[in-house]
């Protein structure tokens, strides 16, 4: 008993001590869980806050970045004509004046020019304003002197022309509007239709949700949404069509956060500039400013009632109510907007009636973009996003210096649209890239037959099989091995390769003929598929792909035999990278469109300098380039000389794909490289070989420019020998079949052949 007694209290006391311990863990655990939950929630909300704030801040822009073309440098001895300088002065808006003492004025006195330049802050310092006298000889700028004291000036840099204004942190074009520039009627209509309580709610409107629910119940289907403008804005930031509860919840929290952080007008302004209002191919139309251009080709403040209400009608579903594709639907929705406005007393019914009677006047085709050079700007935008940090790009008022050469751009545009107009098929399209051979800078980009049209950018995005454009990589692989020369005989006989699984690969020549034994340079020049495929198989497909990669093709290509005939799909820009390495003697330079970016304070952002990598040894590249010169002079590119002067030396290669779907030409002079693709967007046959299509555009582009011959310095250990085009043997210089070709010392053919004629 005593034991019991004694034991009991002990147990009791023990249990008393233990009981709270037993309970506490539960409480504690509960508390901990709640605490963790609460902290997690806080963290989550903070994260959402951060997300939405980043989006919001990133989308509030006032000053766009200014984008400049290359500045024109003037120096004695420069190959520059009076006409070229005059054209540049026109682009820059210099004015002719009797006494040209003001910056930006000039006067011609015969062939000499008196000019007062504008001062300009470049990334490497200020160019001061100076009054100068510039003299010309026949084809050159011969002398520059200061007008006041006659001192010789070595170098003058004109200010660059402004080619556009962009918002580099954004993928799309924008035409931003400030709240006070927006017609009040637009805001009234928008609030009436989308969010009547906008100025009252805190981001989420239970009243609107209730009203929408009621309206939807009455109608039996969704006729109204309960989302506030703030919620719609948030939704627009994180575009996705997912319709889950979590998403809705996230949107609601973010809407509340936005309202907490920013005032109503800021949110409304962001909404007006951000909301999605249409689609133009890959290009999304965001904001009322751009939508106004896109549908009506006029600025927002010039729109009439019937147009403003149409834009508001589109908010609900720009593709469903697309006024170009479904005009009836769009009108019906617009009439609903007009009715709601009169019901709410926002619009006099007489005005509404009048607006209803008018067609909104949507332009038949999507208007061009906000820049005159949509394709080049597209490249600038991509390189900015690739090479600079988002944070830097968000700063206001950046100045972006590009390598665009307005003269080259104009030549390329005229050549492409001019030649396309002569070829059959209204839907025949094309893309063109022009690059400076020496610097690897992109000088011009044309994205389609209408160069002002900001749609599909074929120069960058049309990925098409390159056909015979791949061949130089095969021949370079051979020449780099050392056991092939330009005169090595290749077998062009029929070829059949067992691919296994009962499949065979039988490449055919374009003319369906076999040409027997042909010298290597002829096989390339005449673009013989059988000889090339056999050579490629002997070298090994992987070795050829390695060469392609070294030349600058970054895309992973499967090691299929068909790669040897160019099944790889590449864009004109990628091809330009590859051919640039060939034009630059085997030195690869990443193609650049941007020279420098300056903050408004004049501080340069991190610059991407000229870089070169020796991608292929100089000697075989020199040999290959000679074969490519021959390919234009005597091979598939011969037609180039219908428009180019005989004396000009250029190199290049045609490309044609199955059923004549793609017409390619890639080639270069000593200073300019251009790649042209022609074809149809839907991939139907274009009916053109490389020579009949793209080559003409290429030659026309070069013809319009004052280009230099391609005459690279010969590496040490090169000798030139006259060989017979048929046998590859030495032949007398005056034979009609004689071709002068370079050889590495000791590898030239020894045997001689007599003239056939």
């Amino acid at each position: 008993m005593a034991r019991r007694k004694s034991s009991k209290p002990r147990r009791k006391s023990a249990s008393r001590r233990r009981r709270p311990q037993k309970r506490r863990p539960v409480l504690r655990a509960l508390f901990t869980v709640m605490l963790i939950g609460f902290v997690a929630l806080l963290v989550y909300v903070a994260w959402l806050d951060n997300q939405v704030r980043q989006q919001f801040e990133g989308k509030r822009w006032a000053l766009p970045a200014q984008v400049y073309a290359r500045p024109l440098e003037l120096y004695p001895g420069q190959a520059l004509t009076v006409e070229q300088l005059q054209a540049e002065l026109q682009r820059l808006g210099y004015r002719e004046h009797n006494r040209p003492h003001q910056p930006g004025t000039y006067a011609w006195l015969g062939r000499s020019l008196v000019i007062t330049t504008r001062s300009f802050d470049f990334w490497d310092g200020r160019e001061p304003s100076r009054t100068l006298r510039v003299e010309f000889s026949r084809r050159n700028l011969s002398d520059i002197r200061r007008a006041d004291n006659g001192d010789v000036v070595d170098l003058v840099r004109l200010d660059p022309s402004l080619i556009g204004r962009i918002y580099p942190a954004h993928k799309e074009d924008r035409v931003l509007v400030r709240l006070d520039e927006v017609p009040p009627l637009l805001i009234d209509a928008l609030l009436t239709v989308e969010d009547r309580d906008f100025y009252q709610h805190h981001g989420v409107s239970p009243r609107a949700i209730g009203r929408a629910l009621w309206a939807n119940l009455r109608a039996g289907h969704t006729v109204q949404g309960g989302s506030t403008l703030t919620q719609q804005l948030v939704k627009n930031f994180f575009l996705s069509n997912e319709r889950t509860l979590t998403r809705k919840l996230n949107e609601a929290i973010m809407a509340l956060l936005l309202e907490w952080r920013y005032d109503k007008d800021e949110i409304l302004e962001a909404y007006l500039n951000e909301i999605y209002l249409g689609q133009d191919g890959r290009r999304a139309i965001h904001g009322f400013g751009l939508a106004s251009q896109f549908y009506f080709e006029r600025p927002l403040r010039q729109l009439k009632i019937e147009q403003i209400t149409l834009l508001v009608a589109l908010v609900k579903g720009p593709s469903y109510y697309d006024p170009r594709r479904f005009p009836a639907r769009a009108s019906e929705r617009r009439d609903l907007v007009l009715r709601l406005m009169t019901e709410q007393g926002m619009l006099d019914s007489a005005y509404a009636e009048d607006a209803r009677g008018h067609k909104p006047g949507v332009t038949p085709r999507a208007a061009s973009g906000v820049t005159r050079l949509p394709a080049f700007m597209d490249l600038v935008r991509r390189q900015l996003r690739r090479d600079y940090s988002d944070e830097d790009l968000r700063s206001e008022g950046l100045r972006i210096f590009t390598s665009l050469d307005p003269e080259v751009q104009q030549a390329a545009e005229l050549a492409l649209s001019g030649q396309l107009a002569r070829l059959p098929g209204e839907d025949l399209q094309g893309g063109l890239v022009t690059v400076d051979v020496n610097s690897g800078e992109v000088l011009a980009v044309v994205g389609g037959r209408d160069p002002r049209f900001a749609g599909f950018n074929r120069a960058l995005d049309a990925q098409r099989p390159i056909g015979s454009l791949v061949k130089p990589a095969i021949y370079l692989t051979a020449l780099a091995r050392g056991d092939y020369t330009l005169a090595t005989l290749l077998d062009d006989g029929p070829l059949s390769l067992d691919l296994g699984a009962g499949e065979t690969w039988q490449p055919r020549n374009f003319d369906h003929l076999s040409h027997g034994q042909v010298p290597l340079f002829q096989a390339l020049g005449q673009s013989y598929n059988q000889a090339t495929a056999r050579l490629g198989l002997a070298l090994g497909v992987p070795a050829v792909l390695d060469t392609l990669q070294a030349l600058g093709i970054e895309r992973e290509l499967p090691a299929w035999p068909a790669q040897l005939l160019g099944i790889a799909s590449l864009s004109p820009l990628e091809v330009a990278q590859m051919y640039h390495t060939l034009a630059a003697g085997g030195f690869r330079t990443p193609l650049r469109a941007i020279r420098a970016v300056l903050t408004p304070q004049g501080e340069p952002l991190q610059r991407y300098p000229l870089e070169v990598v020796q991608a292929a040894p100089a000697l075989p590249v020199f040999l290959l380039d000679a074969a490519l010169v021959n390919a234009v002079r005597h091979g598939t590119g011969e037609a180039a000389y219908r428009s180019l002067p005989e004396s000009l030396i250029v190199a290049g290669k045609t490309g044609t794909t199955n059923d004549l779907r793609d017409s390619w030409f890639a080639g270069f002079s000593g200073d300019r490289l251009a790649v042209v693709w022609l074809g149809r967007d839907d991939n139907r046959p274009a009916g053109l070989t490389g020579a009949r299509g793209a080559l003409r555009v290429w030659a026309d582009t070069l013809r319009r420019l004052d280009v230099q011959s391609f005459e690279p310095p010969a590496p040490l250990g090169i000798e030139w020998v006259w060989v017979d085009a048929h046998t590859g043997l030495r032949i007398a210089e005056d034979c009609s079949s004689a071709v002068r070709l370079p050889f590495a010392k000791g590898t030239a053919p020894r045997e001689r052949v007599r003239c056939a004629d």
């Binding site: 120096y75 001895g77 990334w123 490497d124 070595d154 020496n438 300098p609 870089e611 990598v613 020796q614």
Partner: protein, 130 residues
């Protein structure tokens, strides 16, 4: 006092650095006279680039050399200068590539070939030293 010291050090550092580089018997191109085959426009840029080189402002120097190269893109001397700037910047791989580019443009110029060759050797050694 320490501030003073810091400032003065900062001012003379580029000079010290150039002296140091020169003492290392590195390729000396920045200081010598410009060869005759460079035109006047490029020469004026080269001279400006040199003042930046003296101040250790490599990027400014490189920007001016690039500008000179746009005027005379095939001038092997300009490529050599750019290679030298990259070498001094410690960007050895670029120095090698640019020196090779320079040599490829002047196959007959043994003096320049020799300079490029030395630059490449030194860049390789410097890269190995890390």
């Amino acid at each position: 006092m320490p501030r003073h010291f810091f400032f003065s050090l900062r001012r003379i550092f580029p000079v010290l650095f150039v002296l140091f580089i020169n003492a290392c018997a590195g390729p000396q191109t920045g200081e010598e006279s410009v060869p005759a085959e460079v035109g006047r426009a490029a020469t004026s840029l080269l001279a400006r680039a040199d003042t930046h080189v003296q101040a250790g402002q490599w990027e400014q120097a490189a920007a001016l050399l690039e500008r000179a190269l746009r005027i005379e893109p095939r001038n092997a001397w300009l490529w050599h200068h750019l290679a030298t700037v990259r070498f001094r910047q410690g960007r050895y791989a670029q120095a090698v590539s640019l020196a090779n580019k320079s040599s490829s443009l002047a196959p007959g110029n043994t003096a320049l070939q020799e300079k490029n060759h030395r630059l490449i050797e030194e860049a390789r050694q410097a890269a190995e030293r890390g």
